[in-house]
């Protein structure tokens, strides 16, 4: 196997492509730095001059206004110049390859690429072939990884639970297609969470998922027992079309999070969701807006975590 493509020869973070294989000190440094940025985002002037003069390109080969906006805000709060490119529409349809596009943009003196693509491995490919001084942040590639989302989730958990080392965490929903779940699992296991559970019907679990270090549950009530953290995943509608599920109603009944099922978890359990939510499909409105929900703080922390990742990469 090749060397870790995310680290430079000094072992510093060069690209953020996945949470898998990153040493715990690197993850903790991102979380610590993000904590300082939370303070910045609460001030009147929500901006620091750290990345003045740097150009960050948001390369979105798959449309996503939400994610792109959080990266854009993060970059602007670091005083970087931001260029947004939605590439699905323009060059790709003219027969230009992914790497053609990347080479073109490299020539425009980019310092950092934030990449979103529908294919697993696209960010790795770009990191391998972009000019060596360009840092790449994976903002979601296929089903593979969404590391900044995984990191903001563990940041949120640390904010509320302080320590990772005696937590039970359950991830509920479409693990098979979820890049978020994969990034969460690797971040949680690296940071020493002793028990990570995944809860889903068999059609939404990839094979050998237990090799990622998780415990598999098919019955939600069992899986939620005594957990400290619930991480809900979004259910895409096309799962019904390709015969993985019969209906959203049946899914909600067996895997949707209701106040009643939540009561099986520990009384101080928190509920996370990467958004956008399907209310009444994977989560009941009463839970989403309830006392134990930390879904809105997740969004705030998301900006701080992305600021941290950008400034650590730009400095390495």
């Amino acid at each position: 196997m090749s060397n870790n493509p995310q680290l430079n020869k000094n072992g510093d973070l060069e690209h953020l492509l996945t949470t898998e294989g990153l040493p715990a000190p690197i993850l903790l440094n991102i979380l610590d730095t993000a904590k300082s940025f939370v303070g910045v985002t609460e001030r009147d002037v929500k901006k620091v001059p750290l990345l003045r003069g740097k150009s960050i390109f948001n390369l979105f080969f798959e449309p996503s206004t939400r994610t792109r906006t959080t990266f854009e805000i993060a970059a602007k709060r670091l005083s970087a110049d931001v260029v947004n490119l939605n590439i699905s529409a323009s060059s790709q349809s003219k027969g230009e390859t992914l790497l053609d596009t990347v080479n073109n943009l490299s020539a425009m003196h980019a310092d950092m690429f934030v990449v979103r693509h529908s294919q697993s491995g696209a960010a790795h490919l770009i990191a391998r072939h972009a000019r060596p001084d360009i840092h790449v942040i994976n903002a979601g590639d296929g089903r593979h990884a969404h590391p900044t989302q995984g990191l903001l989730d563990v940041f949120t958990i640390r904010h509320y639970k302080r320590d990772f080392r005696n937590l039970r965490v359950a991830i509920v929903g479409d693990i098979l297609h979820s890049r978020v779940a994969r990034s969460q699992i690797h971040a949680l296991t690296t940071l020493g969470v002793p028990e990570v559970r995944v809860i889903a019907p068999k059609t939404l679990l990839p094979s050998k998922v237990e090799r990622l270090g998780v415990h598999v549950y098919h019955e939600m009530r069992q899986g939620l027992k005594d957990v400290d953290v619930l991480m809900m995943l979004r259910l895409q509608n096309e799962r019904m079309l390709n015969a993985r599920l019969p209906s959203t109603e049946e899914y909600f009944k067996y895997y949707g999070l209701t106040q009643e099922k939540l009561s099986l978890a520990r009384p101080d359990a928190i509920v996370l969701h990467p958004g956008p939510m399907n209310r009444g499909v994977e989560i009941d409105s009463a839970v989403a807006d309830g006392r134990q929900s930390v879904i809105l703080p997740q969004v705030t922390f998301g900006i701080a975590v992305r600021m941290a990742v950008m400034s650590i990469l730009a400095g390495n």
Partner: protein, 169 residues
Amino acid sequence: MQLPDAEQLLIELAASLRPDITQNTALVGIHTGGAWLAEWLHQHLKPSLPLGTLDVSFYRDDFAQIGLHPQVRPSNIPFQVEGSHIILIDDVLYTGRTIRAAINELFDYGRPASIRLAALIDRGGRELPIAAQYVGMALELPWDKMLALKKSAWGKMSLSLHDKRRDNE
């Protein structure tokens, strides 16, 4: 080389600050040494405004050369900066670049009425037009030495001198 007693200097520094503490004076320590000093001064001078701390990592001018400081701590300014009289506190005043960064950061919290500077040691070597109003002691040091404040496990503060590493600032 015999270094001065940091705690003795701190008592003297407190004495020179005391007459200038008013209703609207805020003490702000710069991480790490300055924050320890500010904490001690805050306990002893008892200004009415709460203590502030700054980590200037996000404002440093050497980011492009050395990257982000490995352990950034959150800045904490728990008072209204607008209109306040701030006394910045640092352990060793040298090039003045840290103070420049700290002043910039303070202005992102609001427009203070004034900013003054207190330093335990002024070792000269300024690269910016910055001066301290309160100084514990002025000290000449060889350029290849680093001077920093240390704090022991039981809270005793002392000065320590070590060689400047080539790869470090």
